[in-house]
Structures are given as C-alpha cells and as structure tokens.
Amino acid sequence: MPSDQNGLLIEQIKSANETQQRLAIQGHASKSSWLPVSSSDGVLALDEHSGILQYEPEELVITARSGTSLAEINAILAKRQQQLSCEPPQLGAGDGTRGSGTLGGAVACGLSGPGRPWLGAVRDAVLGVELINGAGEYLKFGGQVMKNVAGYDVSRLQSGAWGALGVMSVISLRVQPTVAEECTVGASLSVDQSLSLCAQLGQRNLPITASYWQGGDFCLRLAGNQSGVAAACQALADRGLHQRQAEPQLWQQLKDHEHPFFQRPNSDSSSHRLWRVVTPLAATMPDFLTDPDKDALIMWGGGLRWMYHDDAAQVGEYSKAVGGWCWAIGESMPIAAMQRQIMSQLAKAFDPRGVFASPLGIAAVDA
C-alpha cells in the first residue's frame, strides 16, 4: 500500500537524537550482506514508505517515495516503453521471502548495471531528492529537471553514501525510452583477446550497451533502432562475433548477480572471497589469477572485473597499480584516507549527532 511515513520517520530520528540511539536505514535489506553491519543499531524501516508520486513519460522523469520497490518502478516504466537505463540490481528476486530492492537502496548504494560505461550510472539518473537530515529536518535538493545547478549537488552526493548523509524520502530519477531492438553477439575468446577487442570496438561508433567475458566466452549487447542494430550485427559478424539466440537472460543475470559465477558452491575448494575490481577499461589482467577462466568475470568493456581470490594484498596492489580500486563483497568499503576525511566531515554536516549508522563507516571516524 502506498503511504507517506515522513511524520513517523522524522519522529523516530528526533527521538534517536534524544536517546542517542543509532539507526540503520533499511529498505528491503537486499544488500545487507554486501557490507558489514553492526547488530546493536536500531532499524529505520523505509519499506512501507512507498508509492509513485509522479510519472510523466514525456518529461522523462519518475518521482517516487524511496521505499517503492524497484520491481514496481520497472513495471510502470515498461508499460510506457521506458526504463531506468542505469539498471540497478534487484538482488535476491528469486528468493521470494523479501523484496528485491527499493528505489532508495538503489540510489544509496549506487550500484550500476551492465551498461554503466555506455548508459550511465545510477548517480547520472538522479535529478533530485527530498532528504531528512540527522536533525529531522525535511530538505529538498535538485528537482525534476535535467539541468539544475542551483546550490551544491546534494542529490547526486547521496549516491554511494549508503545512508550516511540522511534519509532520502522522495527521489526523482531520469528515465529513458526502451530501445526498439536488442541483440547479443558473441565468440569464444581468451580474456586478453576480449579486452583488446573491447578497446578497439570502443573507439568505433557501434550501439554497444554491455559487454561480458567469462570462462572463454565473450558477448556484447547491442541496442538501438532496428536498422542500426542490424547493420552493427553485420559489421561485428565480419569480426567473428555472431548473433546469439535468446540471451536477454544473460544480461538480467549479470545485473541481478544471479549469474552462476556469483553462486560458487561452498563445496568448491577454491577461493570464496569475491572482489569487485574497478579498473580503466584497457588495464591488463593481474598475473596472480591462476585460472582466470574460472575465477574472473569481466563487464563494462573491461572496466569492472569480478575476481575470486584470497590474497587481499595482491588484489589491492594490482588495483592501485592500474589506477583502479577494489572491494571484497561483504567486507568494509576501502576508502582512501583523504577522501574518508572529507566524507566524515560531510557526514557530520548532515548528521551532527551521528544518528545514522551507515555500513560505510565514515561517520565513525571522529577527526
């Protein structure tokens, strides 16, 4: 049931200020295993604070309460041939015991889908937020228009903040028309071949909207109008990439982390430490992976590399050397000292008494 819980949320925040309780902001808890959380914190539940407030397809904007499920948003957009092209993940959709993610969670975690380098990130889609800060004040930033430079960009700042800078109550996102035609082309390639092909093709005008490499299999998603996609398929066939039948499932599995790569069985004796390594597109692969076919999955034209590996120091050194960064899923987010200090100061500016217990842990550092 759509309902406005702002009154209740503000009351809870104010009383947490008085009782010095810390509150963990929670939507569907679909990403609760991605960062370590403290069990002693109270919960500020957002899942009932839901409902789509405004959706005008011609304006390319949707505005909804943050607890609205992504499933509901995707469904209403699909009816009007539109979509969130940043493709935020819906985690655990198959499990059925809980929702697979709220709008607020999608923006707060800022995880972008398989199309990131071509279609933009979650933060790129954010146009405005209505925010409740640590003092329980209700504040509006940004709006529903694409171009807006009035005041600091507090709305996009929320993306990746994991709730450290306030509770987003209402969010406006930019939406895009769905494309008329989508197809997948692929070939068997080694990891190095796939990376160099990506680098070459990336400089050409092709309607690529996602890439995938795993276990010697390389795929590209093409999307656009019919004639454009058909011509691109032809051009890529000449380079040995052939059209695959019925692959939309692959891209959905990558988006929602349901690809078999992410479900490594516990009985498997190899490493279970899963790294999300973000690198420049054409960075070379690390030499510590003994079997990249088994232990690596590559997306974003080379810019996002999932790896199973136990030695944190090796992954860390590699990421740094190529100019990227890495994060082991389930462990704390690595943030460089200077950035962390700025983020902590910002957290204090939005939440002076430290009411919000973000799993990012930036508020905890008291400078």
């Binding site: 990130a121 009035a150 600091y152 990336g202 109008n225 597109l281 987010m333």
Partner: protein, 501 residues
C-alpha cells in the same frame, strides 16, 4: 586560525594589512614575477567575467603554472585568512569568477599545456586551463570526442566547466559535464591534493566528484580533469522546422520524446531571437515563423535513415509548415551558426542584454513563455527567447541599455521575476550558468532557510574558514531574511546550537 580578512573591518580595504603583505611576499617567492599581477592596467581584465554588469578590482592576480604552486598559494592564503577566487577563462555568466577586493584571484590559464589522450581507455587527462574545444580537437584523430559543448567552447576552460557543470546543446542525449567527467585532482581549502575518481566508471562512497561539479570554485581548486571520450558519430542530420505558433513547436518537442526518440540536440528560438540571429548570421531562418526548432540527429548511417523519416513525420503532424534538412557539414554548420551566435546577435539589437538561465519542465513551456511576455510588458524591456528545448533549459535574453539610468537594475529585477516564474513552474533558477553573485537573491525563493543552512554546513565541512570564493553561490540567511523571502518554519531556526551564517 586567522580571522578571515573578508570579515575584518573595511579599513583593510585601503591599506594592505600585514596578512596581505605576507601573502604578496610569498606569491613573489613562489611564482615568476610576470605571474603575479598587481598593477591597475594588468588587473583590469580580471575585473569581471562574462557577467559584465558587475565589476570589482581584484587585489592581486596570481597565475600558477603547476599544481604544487596552487597548493602552496592556497596554504599561504589559508594561513593568513585571505580569500582565493579561482578563475578559468572568465566566460562565466553569473559572476562566479568575480574578484574579491581582499582576495587573490587564482588564474589557471597558464595550466593549459598538458593534454593526454588515451584512446584505449577512452579518456583524456588535462590541466584545468585547457579549453573545452581543445580536448575534442586532440581526440579527433582517434575518432573520439568530448561531448559537452557549451557555446563558449572555443574559450572556456575545462576547470571552469567542472566548476559550473557546464552544458551545451547536446545534453539530453550526452549529459552535462558531471556525466562526462570521470576524475578530478583538486587542491582543498587546506592546501592538500586529493584525487576524486580517475579513469574509472565507479568510485567508493558518497559521490564527491558529482558534488564538485557545479560547486563554483567554493569547495576546491580543480588542478586536473579526466574526461570520458566518445566515438564520434558516423553521421549527423540537422533539421530546421518552422512553426506559426509557439505552442505547436512545444508540442512537437513533446511528441518526439514521447515517441522514444532522444535527438542529439533540439533547440527552440522565438520570433525575436530568430530575427536577430538571421540578421547576424544569414542562416536562412524563416523570418515569418513564430518559433523554429533546430534538431540534430546522430548515429550510425543505417540508424539515421529511419530516424530522420520518423522525426520529419512528427514535425509535420504537429504543424511545422517548413522543414529544411541539412545533410552535409557546411549546410549543417550554417543552420547551427544562427543558434550558436544568438547571444551576440541579440547583443547587436540592443546596447546590453542579460542572459537568464532557468530550467522548466518541458510541458510548461507555453505557459512560462506567456508569463515572460507579461513580465516583459510590465517592465517595458524586450525579451528574446532561446531554449534548449530537449532538456527544458530556457535562456531569455533581456534587452536593455546600461547608459539609461536605472535600466540595469530594472533588467536585473525583471530577470529575477522570470526566474521566479521558472521556480513556480516546477523548475530551477539556473540550469547551467551557475548562481555566482547574480542569482543569490533568487536562490532565496528556491530554497528554505533549513536548506540554505545545510548548504553552508556542507561548505564548512570542506572549507571551514570560508576562503574559497566567498560570497558566491549560496545566499546568507541574513540576505534572504532582508529580502523577506526566508522560510523560517514555525519560527524556529535549524540547529540552534550552530553559529549563524
């Protein structure tokens, strides 16, 4: 911590304080002599940016050549409580780079040498003073380009683009600066060097890079920028459509978007703007039209053929009485020339003009345009409207004569009324030009006192002494209070324990 000079009494105005002498000595130590400007003739060009109605002589201009020099200058200014005003090419239209009488203008024009294109990673790494267009020129031989293209692109700097989150005519499809910048190195208010992002598509934690975009030199000094490059489109078509009614042109824009088409550019001009542009650029615009649309479509050859037909059909069904198609580069350049020279063209009609920059939801265009008409009649000053129709960004140009006593104030007051109409329509007071000093008062209309106080706390988190470009961007609560526009809720001020700004 030294008390900021800006807050000391006005007597420091005339005689240089000890702090100023110390800063000047340090500047001369750090930089070659010709990079420290103190004489009136040398300072004159820095008196104003593109908002020429507002001027102030700077105290000193420093032109660092390296990031280390920038950091050392900021450290020294912080130590002595002297404001630092970053300046790129000075093309800003809101007074963002307007000097401060007690401050150092930090001109970044000399940091414009280094420009590295990395085609494999599809990025370019550039110094802040590099001109916007120079990036595309350097990337071209790899078949790549940098998408954001403000009309000032031959002159404006990439550092200034980041600081203003500059747009251009291709924003709907390709985004603004914030959507195309991947990394920034900056010098903080404390003089430390921080790297935000890099040649990567994702970063941990709250999006500081997005925060820096559009921060108008108030949160840090940009010393290097990494931008994403895109493959140049194979083909482009430019269409010009003429309408007898503004409403029809507005409906055509809505229909194109509703059909799932995102044109590379879609610009609207009203009759006054068309006539001015035609007289200036001889672009072949129809002088009898009440409004024209200029639409650019781009992509692969195959894609474009069908797109072109689809758009032409939509324009026709929505009342376009004339449609010109330009397929070759010179015809296209001619059609764009009128639009791109609209500002100087209007400048020829009138001794002075003021360019407004509101954004509105597209559907409110007809109502807002008729409100602007009424406002124009009330104030007795003419307006020409140029509109980034695709993304709702409206540039009404107010014509006035600064030599007629009172007209500058009148034009400013009229501009404020127009921006209020934009806010009332669900829009914003600035789409791409920034607040600077020009829109401080209208910010009071758009934001409540709690929101403004939050902005100040954010600012203080990065710049506790308030030395980076003070007095810009966010109006003080006192200023808004005096205007009577302050929205104090239930008579209570937020965070009563914190000091007032």
């Amino acid at each position: 911590m030294a008390k900021p000079v800006a807050e000391q009494g006005s007597n420091v105005l005339t005689q240089h304080s000890a702090a100023h002498r110390a800063v000047l000595d340090r500047l001369l130590e750090l930089l070659p002599d010709d990079c420290v400007i103190t004489d009136a003739a040398g300072l004159r060009p820095y008196e104003t940016d593109g908002l020429t109605a507002i001027r102030e002589m700077p105290w000193v201009v420093a032109l660092p050549e390296t990031e280390e020099q920038v950091a050392a200058i900021v450290v020294c200014c912080a130590e002595h409580g002297v404001p630092v005003i970053a300046r790129g090419a000075g093309t800003g239209l809101s007074g963002g780079a307007r000097p401060h009488q007690h401050g150092v203008v930090l001109g970044l024009s000399k940091m414009s040498e280094s420009l590295t294109v990395d085609p494999e990673n599809r990025v370019a790494r550039v110094q802040p003073g590099v001109r916007n267009l120079a990036i595309t020129q350097a990337a071209e031989r790899h078949g790549l380009y940098y998408a954001p293209d403000p009309s000032s692109q031959i002159a404006c700097s990439i550092g200034g683009n980041v600081a203003e989150n500059a747009g251009g005519v291709h924003c709907l499809k390709y985004g603004l600066t914030v959507n195309n910048v991947l990394g920034v190195r900056m010098v903080t208010a404390g003089g430390e060097i921080v790297e935000l992002g890099g040649a990567v598509y994702d970063n941990p934690g709250p999006d500081l890079l997005a925060l820096l975009c559009g921060s108008e030199g108030m949160l840090g000094i940009v010393t290097e920028v990494t931008v994403a490059l895109l493959p140049s489109p194979e083909t482009k078509t430019v269409l010009l459509a003429a309408f007898s009614h503004v409403v029809d042109a507005g409906n055509a824009v809505a229909a194109i978007i509703a059909a799932g088409i995102i044109p590379a550019g879609m610009e609207m001009m009203d009759k006054m703007a068309v006539q001015a542009a035609e007289a200036f650029a001889k672009a072949g615009y129809p002088l009898d039209a009440e409004a024209i649309l200029i639409i650019e479509l781009d992509g692969a050859d195959a894609e474009l053929a069908t797109l072109n037909d689809q758009v032409t059909e939509l324009l026709r069904t929505h009342g376009a009485y004339r449609i010109d198609e330009a397929h070759d580069a010179s015809q296209q350049a001619r059609l764009w020339k009128g639009r791109k020279s609209a500002f100087p063209a209007v400048g020829r009609l009138s001794p002075d003009y003021l360019c407004m920059d509101g954004t509105i939801p597209r559907k409110t265009l007809p109502t807002v345009l008729s409100e602007i008409d009424v406002i124009s009649q009330t104030f007795g000053l003419a307006v020409a409207n140029v509109f980034h129709a695709a993304d709702g960004n409206l540039h009404p140009l107010i014509l006035f004569d600064a030599n007629v006593p009172g007209q500058t104030d009148k034009a400013m007051a009229m501009g404020a009324k127009i921006l209020e109409a934009c806010v009332a329509a669900g829009g914003t007071v600035t789409g791409e030009h920034g607040v600077g000093v020009e829109k401080l008062d209208t910010m009071c209309v758009q934001f409540t006192s709690e929101e403004l106080a939050q902005f100040f706390r954010l600012k203080a988190a990065l710049d506790p002494q308030a030395l980076l470009n003070p007095g810009k961007g966010i109006p003080t609560l006192t200023r808004c209070g005096e205007l009577g526009g302050m929205h104090v809720h239930k008579g209570r001020l937020p965070f009563p324990e914190l000091e007032r700004f």
